[in-house]
Subunit: 201 residues, 2 copies
DNA sequence: TGCAAAATTTCAATGGGTGAAAACAATAAA
DNA sequence: TTTATTGTTTTCACCCATTGAAATTTTGCA
């Protein structure tokens, strides 16, 4: 499992990620070419594509793991859990993960966030990944509460909660900047979704 | 305003849209080239780009108008309206518009829906457009109820409602197929968002 | 008709992405 | 340790979306 081969691949992967983020930061996403990234990571351009399917995907190197963690949380819910309880736990988890830089420096984590919010191509990819994640999560939620929910209600719940947080956070980002503020806004948005839009009337 | 020039441009635009949809249907989105679309519409490949910014964008030829209509609905709300009342009116309007094929045959409208749900590139574009729309709508909602809502609550409300409908409809589409069914699911999802996720516990 | 503005075409390039064969490197078997 | 095997990377030759600029054609109007 941990032969030279595997270790080398991990190193190459990491090198590609770091090279890409560094270059995106320096020259901008559109402006850096795959050739430059590959050169900086000391591999051929073609090799890039055996690690990532597209230029955008380097930026989302860890989304898969994150999703798996969320799904696992759902699968291992405790008997007494409520639907909203489990959903909120997932939200908390995701925020913690976002704060805890895994594998990269905190600066790179911030840089990545800025890139995703800034570059249309990355925003589009992020939205697609988030959408697919929501579908998987809603299915896992349904499987965790098959007696209490329909598939559609599970989907509506996940969509409403994540939709509320996503939009509130985005609108807020245009005004303020601190991580704590985003946190607070996300909590408030969760509350709106949990207690229903009618509470706003 | 309605000179030869304008009419000709409209015809070219329409020709491009129809050529593209026809070809996407016949050979698939990835498989048809811009050159083929342009040839079928009797213009040069370069000209395509003075009508649409990308291959994906032909498919979304009318999203701008739709958004404007939604925003207008919000701007012209009547004094007695509630937040949820206005939001629901927008949802209804959008569904009616989707059913009423504007400018194209109903078959093409269905084809377009299938394409968007099927092709990853189109899904991504759709999600990005929807996201931007939600931001604009949430701002318009805030401006319609400046005394009752904060910007963040407006965003949370729009995100929750549209998020719930979007995900519920998508999950449902994998099972059933009729337009009426999707309608029913959307209504139910709205209800979940309006009355809050806690009602599911 | 004849000119200025707008739209279209042609041409040349850039860069992301892919398939296939050749060259290399790691591992396991003998 | 040599060898056969298998996985990885490189090279090479493409395709196609997209863009800028210059040349050309169309249309609107004086």
């Amino acid at each position: 499992m941990v032969g030279l081969r595997e270790r080398k691949k991990q190193r190459t992967r990491q090198a590609l990620i770091e090279a890409a983020l560094r270059l995106f930061d320096d020259k901008g996403f559109e402006e850096t070419t795959l050739a430059e990234i590959a050169a900086r990571a000391d591999v051929s351009t073609r090799t890039f594509f055996s690690y990532f399917a597209s230029k955008e995907d380097v930026v989302f190197y860890d989304t898969h793991e994150r999703l798996e963690m969320a799904v696992t949380t759902l699968a291992t819910r405790r008997p007494g859990d409520s639907v909203t309880g489990v959903l909120l736990r997932i939200i908390e988890q995701s925020f913690e993960q976002a704060a805890a830089y895994e594998g990269l420096t905190p600066e790179d984590a911030a840089l990545r966030a800025r890139l995703i919010l800034t570059e249309p191509a990355l925003q589009a990819r992020a939205l697609l990944l988030l959408f697919d994640s929501q579908i998987r999560i809603s299915k896992a939620l349904y499987e965790a509460f098959p007696e209490r929910l329909t598939q559609e209600d599970a989907a509506a719940a996940v969509g409403a909660l994540i939709g509320a947080i996503k939009l509130a956070a985005m609108v807020n980002l245009e005004h303020h900047r601190s991580l704590e503020e985003v946190w607070a806004v996300a909590r408030r948005a969760s509350e709106v979704a949990l207690s229903g839009l009618r509470t706003l009337d």
